[in-house]
Structures are given as structure tokens and as C-alpha cells.
């Protein structure tokens, strides 16, 4: 199984919904429409030639400048038998951050999605227990989003442009 055969199979099955195929550092990467994520995971799981049955990682990346598709949910999958990995991404609107939960297929997605919700506010539809995992439940913002600078911007005692902290430097 090579990256090309996986790409071919997925393109045949999903047609217009998938795009942006590339292989940075040897790992096949593509994008799929956000409402098709579970369909794709299910297909990859069931199709005997592919059999991607190990969910390595689920995480989120925030691109504030990409209007309408600010949040990228990134899935890393692994076929342990043939030892092939790839990743795919779903882009969603930050004003309607909803996507179907992968917990229907993978138990391991449970906490990873809770973490993604905790840090980025992505609502995973169908998740059995979607609440904050690292931060306190009273928190009313999603701290890993890019609009929150790392250091408290109201502090003046640490202003030091030369060392990249405080002031206008984010």
C-alpha cells in the first residue's frame, strides 16, 4: 500500500469532498469536507485493503486569518499491519464549531476530543461526555485560540521589546 493507492481509493470514493493532497515529509495529507469525517473514518476502518484501525492522534489548529475555516481538526491514522500512516484535516467555521465525534469508532478519541473542546471550543456532536478535561469547568473561553497571547498583556513590569515579551509583540 502506497500513498498513491490510498489517494486513488479515497478520491474514487469521495470525489469532490476531498482535496489538497500533498505528502509533507512522506506523510500523505489531505483535506475533506467537515461533514464527511466519520464517513471517511468508517470507510478506512472497514475497507479491507486500507484497514486504518488505529487512531493515533486528534488535535486542532487555529488559523484566525482563514475566514470561514478557522479551525482545522487534524486526524492521524495508522495501519499497524502494513505500517502506513497518514493524516487528514477538516476545516470548520469558528462561529459554528461543530463536527461529528469519532467516538463512535474509536474509544481513544474520547479524551482527545475533550481536550480539543477544552482548548479550542470545538463541539463534537455525538460525544458521550463533552466537558473540559484540563481546565476548570467554570472557564468561559478557549485558551489555545490564537487571540489569547501567551503572557498577560496588561502587565507592564515585564515590558521588554528586545526579548520579545510584553508590549506589542504577541
Amino acid at each position: 500500500m502506497t500513498n498513491e493507492t490510498i489517494q486513488q481509493k479515497i478520491q474514487d470514493k469521495f470525489g469532490e469532498s476531498v482535496r489538497g493532497f500533498e505528502t509533507p515529509y512522506g506523510m500523505l495529507t489531505f483535506e475533506i469536507a467537515a461533514d464527511k469525517n466519520i464517513e471517511l473514518l468508517q470507510y478506512l476502518y472497514d475497507e479491507p485493503d486500507l484497514a486504518f484501525r488505529f487512531l493515533t492522534d486528534v488535535t486542532v489548529v487555529h488559523y484566525p486569518d482563514d475566514k470561514g475555516r478557522e479551525l482545522a481538526i487534524v486526524y492521524h491514522l495508522h495501519n499497524l499491519v502494513d505500517n502506513v500512516r497518514f493524516r487528514f484535516k477538516c476545516f470548520i467555521d469558528i462561529n459554528k464549531p461543530e463536527i461529528n465525534s469519532a467516538t463512535v469508532l474509536f474509544e481513544s478519541a474520547n479524551w482527545q476530543e475533550r481536550e480539543a473542546y477544552d482548548f479550542y471550543g470545538v463541539i463534537f456532536k455525538g460525544h458521550p461526555n463533552l466537558k473540559r478535561i484540563m481546565n476548570v469547568e467554570e472557564m468561559d473561553y478557549f485558551p489555545m485560540r490564537k487571540e489569547f497571547p501567551l503572557e498577560d498583556q496588561s502587565r507592564t513590569d515585564k515590558d521588554d521589546e528586545m526579548f520579545g515579551r510584553g508590549g506589542s509583540v504577541n
Partner: protein, 414 residues
């Protein structure tokens, strides 16, 4: 309901009409219970001694490493990785250096790879020996733990000689090591290789066929291979369930393909299998270290002095050069101030950490700091299975399952 009414009558307790008796007890195991060996909580619902359900609460030592990393140049992220699985910091450090090297396209010389293998396998031994001996402590045997701790000290002395610190090591640099291994290091390594096998053998003799250990461990907290994979298990815990997945073999990094070693696997995935797999891995690690040491001794002349790759943009120049040459001075400042632009790219690299596949997902937008860095922490992912593994078990099993999973709060909470 009938039983409750009977009990109420027998005890002459008068309950108000319409009240429903709660038949289970809630037990808070943690966050600062001595047997959790870290700060995390388990809310157990117990019916007598039996666990009905367990709910895990984590995040007590969350330090937002992923957020902090977005503001730091690459070399300053290494100390953050120390504090993930702090029982085997060098493994995390090396994983991080290799991720950076993959992104930057730095090719490390063979000797550096072998030096790294030695350090990584030492770290694996120190992690497994802690996990296994602590598990025995939780089963009531204190002696093996005190006995093996002496040998972790020998490993820590080796770290100390190379990088100056012991627990949170910050060992190595992008491209190699901060300095060559001196003769003291090799002396200490030889001492360890000579003495540790004896101690490990005695440890096994004390514990492996010990009636109490066997009774406590066999059959407690089992998990099938299928469920383990679904839960995203990796590392010794997955191998104990019978799946021979090891990143060192599947996706060799740091020249692991040059070494000859076995992957111990279990069958039932219970505490005893996890214990055996870890013990087996310690023997394999010793084998790898011996091979690596032999390979290193074969380097002659100038090759025997190589301890870093040629990566002037990221590897600090010699201090003497900084004082005497302009170029080295410029590089020195650029590196220390974090003013080197990282090439644009997106990379996932994983190493076989002590607990499983430790992955680093690094996205760079061409700036000086990562745009996004995500750690795949094996411990965080497999701890989810804890409630399923302890369902129906006794409270004492809950303790031993926890210690046999090697849950490290630093890694879980990141």
C-alpha cells in the same frame, strides 16, 4: 428493592416514605493519594469492595506546554519536554530533537545516533525499573524497590556527567549532544552494564514467582488486544495485550535498524503481563546498550570524536570560537536569542517512549517559533481505559492496575 427493605427492617432504620436508598459508596482515590504516585483523581463508586464505576479526573498539573511552545524557539522547548514523562526525560528530549531535525532536514552522523540510543535505552530502563518496583511496593513489597533504586542512581550519574542534571535532563541539542562522552561516562556505563543485570536477576527472583505478587497481579485489570487498540494503547501496555507494535521496529529512528533485539509480548494484558513485558524490555534494552557501546568503540580517529551534526543555524558553536571568530559569535547570538527562522512545514515524528508512542506534531509557518506544537502523550490516551479495566474489580486491584499502567501525571496533563 426487596433486599433493601429487608436490611432496613433488620437494622430498625426508619426511612422517610418514598426515599430511595443509595446502595453504593463514593470513594475519592486521589488527587493526593499515596498510591496514585502523581496528582490525579479517581472517583470510584464501590459496592462493598467491588468497583461499580470509576471516573478519572486529570489536569491538576496542566502547565499549558503546547501554548508556551508557541512562543519559544525550538531549543527552548526541550526543557518543556523534560516535564512530560519525568521518569524518562531523555527519551522525550531525544524525540523532540529528532522532530526538529526532521523538519530542518538535519542528518545526524551514525555515532550521534548510537550515543542517543544508549541514552534512550538507559532512560527506558530507569522508567521501567521505577514502574515495576513501585508496582511491587503497591502490592506490599518494599525491598525490591529500595534495592533497584540504587541502580537508577547509576543511570542518573551518567546523565549528570553528560548534561549536568539528573531528573529533568534537557540532554542533547538539535543535531547531537552538547559535549562528547568523556571517560567517566564510559566508566560509569561499564559499571552499570556490569552490575545491573545481577540486580535485575535478583529482582526477578524476588518478585516474578512470588505468590503474593502473582495472586495480586494475574487476572487483574486485563484488556483484550482489540479493546487496547481501540483505546489507543501503545508501548508496553499494548504489547502486554499481545500486539507487537513498537515504533523502534515499525518506523526505525536514530539507526535502531542496526540493532538486534526482541519485542517481548504478553497475552492477556493483565498487570502480570505488563510487569513481565517491562522486565523483558529491560533485558532487551541492556542488549541494545551493549551493542551500541561495541559499535561506538569501532569508530576510529576523527570519527570517534563526532558528537553532533554540522548544523550551525541550530547547534551552538564552541565557546572558544565565539570569543575569537565573528561567524561563531553571530551564530551564537542568533541561536541564543531565538532569531533563526524555522522553515515552513508540518511534521509528525514519534519515538517509542517508555509508555508508548510519544508523538510530536509540529507546524511551522516560517516564523521563529512553532505555529502549533502538539504532543501525543501515550499516558493521556490509555488512561481512558482505566474505568473499563477496573469495572467489577476490588479496590485493591484499582491500585495495582494504576501502578502497572505507569501513569505519569506530567505526561497526562502536559
Amino acid at each position: 428493592m426487596a433486599i433493601i427493605e429487608e436490611q432496613v427492617q433488620n437494622n430498625n432504620i426508619k426511612l422517610p416514605d418514598g426515599s430511595i436508598e443509595k446502595t453504593t459508596t463514593t470513594l475519592n482515590l486521589g488527587p493526593t493519594h499515596p498510591a496514585t504516585h502523581g496528582v490525579f483523581q479517581n472517583i470510584l463508586e464501590v459496592d462493598g469492595e467491588r468497583i461499580v464505576s470509576a471516573e478519572q479526573t486529570i489536569g491538576y498539573i496542566h502547565r499549558a506546554f503546547e501554548k508556551i511552545a508557541e512562543r519559544r524557539p525550538l531549543y527552548q522547548i526541550t526543557p518543556l519536554t523534560d516535564r512530560l514523562n519525568y521518569c524518562s526525560s531523555p527519551l522525550n528530549n531525544m524525540g523532540w530533537h529528532m522532530t526538529c531535525e526532521k523538519l530542518l532536514g538535519i542528518k545526524t552522523p551514525k555515532r550521534v545516533d548510537y550515543l542517543r540510543v544508549i541514552i534512550m535505552e538507559l532512560a527506558r530502563i530507569s522508567d521501567h525499573l521505577i514502574c515495576n518496583s513501585i508496582m511491587i511496593v503497591d502490592a506490599g513489597g518494599f525491598t525490591p524497590f529500595l534495592y533497584l533504586m540504587e541502580y537508577r542512581e547509576l543511570i542518573y550519574e551518567i546523565y549528570e556527567e553528560i548534561c549536568g542534571s539528573r531528573l529533568t535532563t534537557n540532554i542533547g541539542r538539535i543535531g547531537g549532544f552538547e559535549r562528547n562522552f568523556n571517560s567517566t561516562v564510559w566508566g560509569k556505563l561499564e559499571k552499570f552494564l556490569r552490575e545491573y543485570p545481577k540486580a535485575l536477576k535478583e529482582f526477578e527472583a524476588l518478585t516474578q514467582r512470588n505468590r503474593i505478587v502473582m495472586d495480586r497481579c494475574i487476572g487483574s485489570g486485563p484488556i483484550s488486544a482489540e479493546r487496547a487498540l481501540n483505546y489507543g494503547f501503545t508501548g508496553p501496555n499494548l504489547r502486554a495485550a499481545g500486539v507487537d507494535y513498537d515504533v523502534r521496529v515499525h518506523t526505525p529512528y536514530s539507526s535502531y535498524e542496526d540493532f538486534d533485539f526482541n519485542i517481548p509480548v504478553g497475552t492477556t494484558g493483565d498487570c502480570y503481563d505488563r510487569y513481565l513485558v517491562r522486565n523483558g524490555e529491560m533485558w532487551e534494552s541492556l542488549k541494545i546498550i551493549n551493542q551500541a557501546y561495541q559499535k561506538i568503540q569501532q569508530f576510529k580517529g576523527a570519527d570517534a570524536e563526532i558528537f553532533h551534526a554540522d548544523a550551525p543555524d541550530y547547534y551552538l558553536p564552541e565557546k572558544a570560537d565565539v570569543y575569537t571568530s565573528m561567524e561563531a559569535l553571530i551564530y551564537h547570538f542568533k541561536i541564543v536569542m531565538g532569531e533563526t527562522e524555522i522553515p515552513k512545514g508540518e511534521v509528525y515524528h514519534s519515538v517509542e517512549g517508555a509508555n508508548g508512542e510519544l508523538g510530536f506534531y509540529l507546524i511551522s509557518d516560517g516564523g521563529r517559533t512553532p505555529y502549533r506544537l502538539h504532543f501525543r502523550r501515550p499516558c493521556f490516551i490509555y488512561y481512558q481505559a482505566y474505568s473499563e479495566m477496573t469495572k467489577g474489580a476490588m479496590i485493591s486491584d484499582a491500585i495495582i492496575v494504576m501502578s502497572s499502567l505507569n501513569l505519569i501525571a506530567g505526561e497526562m496533563d502536559a
